[in-house]
Symmetry: C2
Subunit: 421 residues, 2 copies
Amino acid sequence: MQTRWSERFAQRTRGMRSSAVRELLKLTEQPDVISFGGGLPAPEVFPVEKFREACDRVLEGDGSRALQYSTTEGYRPLREMIARHASRLGVGIDADNVLLTSGSQQALDLIGKVFINPGDHLLVERPTYLGALQAWRTYQAEYACVSMDDDGMRTDEVEVQLRTGPKFIYALPNFQNPSGVTLSVERRHRLIQLADHYGVPILEDDPYGQLRYEGEHLPSLVLLDGRREENNGPSYRGNVIYLSTFSKTLAPGMRLGWIIAPAEVIQRLVQAKQGADLHSSTFAQMVTYEVARGGFLDQHVKFIRATYKERRDAMLHALETHFPDGVTWTRPLGGLFLWVRFPVEMDAADVLEVAIGQKVAFVPGQPFFPDGSGANTARFNFSYCKPETIEEGIRRLGAVLKSLLKGARVAVGAREGAQVG
Amino acid sequence: MQTRWSERFAQRTRGMRSSAVRELLKLTEQPDVISFGGGLPAPEVFPVEKFREACDRVLEGDGSRALQYSTTEGYRPLREMIARHASRLGVGIDADNVLLTSGSQQALDLIGKVFINPGDHLLVERPTYLGALQAWRTYQAEYACVSMDDDGMRTDEVEVQLRTGPKFIYALPNFQNPSGVTLSVERRHRLIQLADHYGVPILEDDPYGQLRYEGEHLPSLVLLDGRREENNGPSYRGNVIYLSTFSKTLAPGMRLGWIIAPAEVIQRLVQAKQGADLHSSTFAQMVTYEVARGGFLDQHVKFIRATYKERRDAMLHALETHFPDGVTWTRPLGGLFLWVRFPVEMDAADVLEVAIGQKVAFVPGQPFFPDGSGANTARFNFSYCKPETIEEGIRRLGAVLKSLLKGARVAVGAREGAQVG
């Protein structure tokens, strides 16, 4: 028996149950399902032994510090390492421009806490990262959407939207989650210029920037913005707030990301973080620093790139082999995801339901669209499964799609027949 | 040079600089200052070697799981351990009633996210935990305050306040932070009864419950609420949401706390946590489970109790020896803090300023009062410094207080003299 309060609460929330898609995705956790649904790194690339050594070293050398409370800003040597790395790339910052967060997800939440008031609207790509939409729901954000093509966010649409006064522009320029698309260098320049002209900051979310499998590395927005300065050294103008993470290059289980922002913005974010979780795990920060330092991270990223390139190629090859005409997909140059478009009359949630019967899963694309469109799209992850598993999963999905398309043609034929009759 | 956007931001936030007290507290971080200011566990009690062994075992046995993303709810064996422990004490719950959080601070933030709408008022003790006020500022909470005496929250004041429809009652029944006061068993019963009658849930925050140094353990509110059921076994009625943490019994640097709540409430909190940080560190959860299991936690808490009892006694003894008449303090039965009351005309922030000149520090009490009162109060932590350091720090503070009181008497005398003249 429950009290009146908890009964009332249960009644009130009964209508707010997880969506049908969420329920379907739970089924994908069964071990015999081949899942392209998550955004998980391959467990094979985790540097487990390196972490073990780092734990030993941290606990032996400085154990009581690692287990104690620490500052909200984060472990200073790690902030300095991030600042040095950015400066080497041309972004002239120091540790005061860096806040360590409990994964990039917390960075999104803190940005929401500090910047978004109810009814504020944000300029986002369509589709955009679902985790950002989830984080900002609490702050009652609204959205102005900009379409994407193979060169990323369409900057010709951006200017019109900027005149409506969005709070900030949220952009994922590299191998975007979910679409896998990369913003061209011309559009990067144009976006920076427009944002500056209209006095609107850019939030650049870059979890995958280091995971490029072909082509040349493109300069980040934060770097291009700094280059608008008339000097030769590294610089930072503060119009771009930059997010990244150790989740894709070392280990998501540590929950460590970071924000690069003007020092005044960092101070406000620190106050918000103090109320949110005091600070991120001291131990996780010290261990991550110990693992990353001395050039290991750069070395390790090369290994990850090789592994994921093989898997991306396996997925692209399998798609070409097994998927029927009428289904299209993006060809990402890096990252973890590609984006599939089914024929417009097909609902990805329906496809998923049939696919799960064949023990294979993906994520329907609609939740990534703030405007509720995209019912015929889907996100496929290629980092988690091994190449042979990818081949098998795509083969099964291809068969599902072919049978659904055949069924649809039969149904259309029957309907047409009926009309003729 | 900064852009217009970041310049505007800097201008707007210039007036929001840290308070004078915060600036003073920064000075206490100097290594030669004796600080009673923080709420830090003694580094001497951290089971460093046990953590080292646990890291080895987790990474060797299940490394790629420990470094991977995991569920928002938390590591299931750890949730089950918490549920078993609660059930042994009589609170009949299972793992579905437990959410792991990034420290208790995150629990407060998530509770705010799910329950508090702008303008909602909460019933809180006066003084109350500062971290809760910080967490709930974002959600624009307002407060109805209930006075405290040596038996804790005055339940005679609670009923009047409950009629005004607060969203929930926030209570810290054991060795409250900041006052060190414990809620009597009679008042616990009365509080439960009132909350139930008015259909208002209680948020019981219990970070220090296991750290009692004298007297008998008192039943928690969540336990007493369950006992109102007409059965004999462990039960949970759901009118009390209960928070606790591993920060005071194992290590705050891991950032792990938990919430016990009705399963429907946990589901809502899980959604909120998903947007806030996806999940707490998988690695920290698995390592903490490995350290805590097999009875180690219970054993270790005994060692902590012995250490902190000695420090509490050292502080009480030093206060009696060195503090002047007119200054009073609480005698906590457990926890990390005691509460000092200076003469009403004395401002604790002024005392702190002089004290820092003598290389000793504490936290002024005013920020713990939602109504801005309490200028003559202060919180003293006794867990962090060793007994001989406590003695020396309190001796210095005693001298500061005596000189300030003497100065005040001279000033009063001069004013009275002037009036007479």
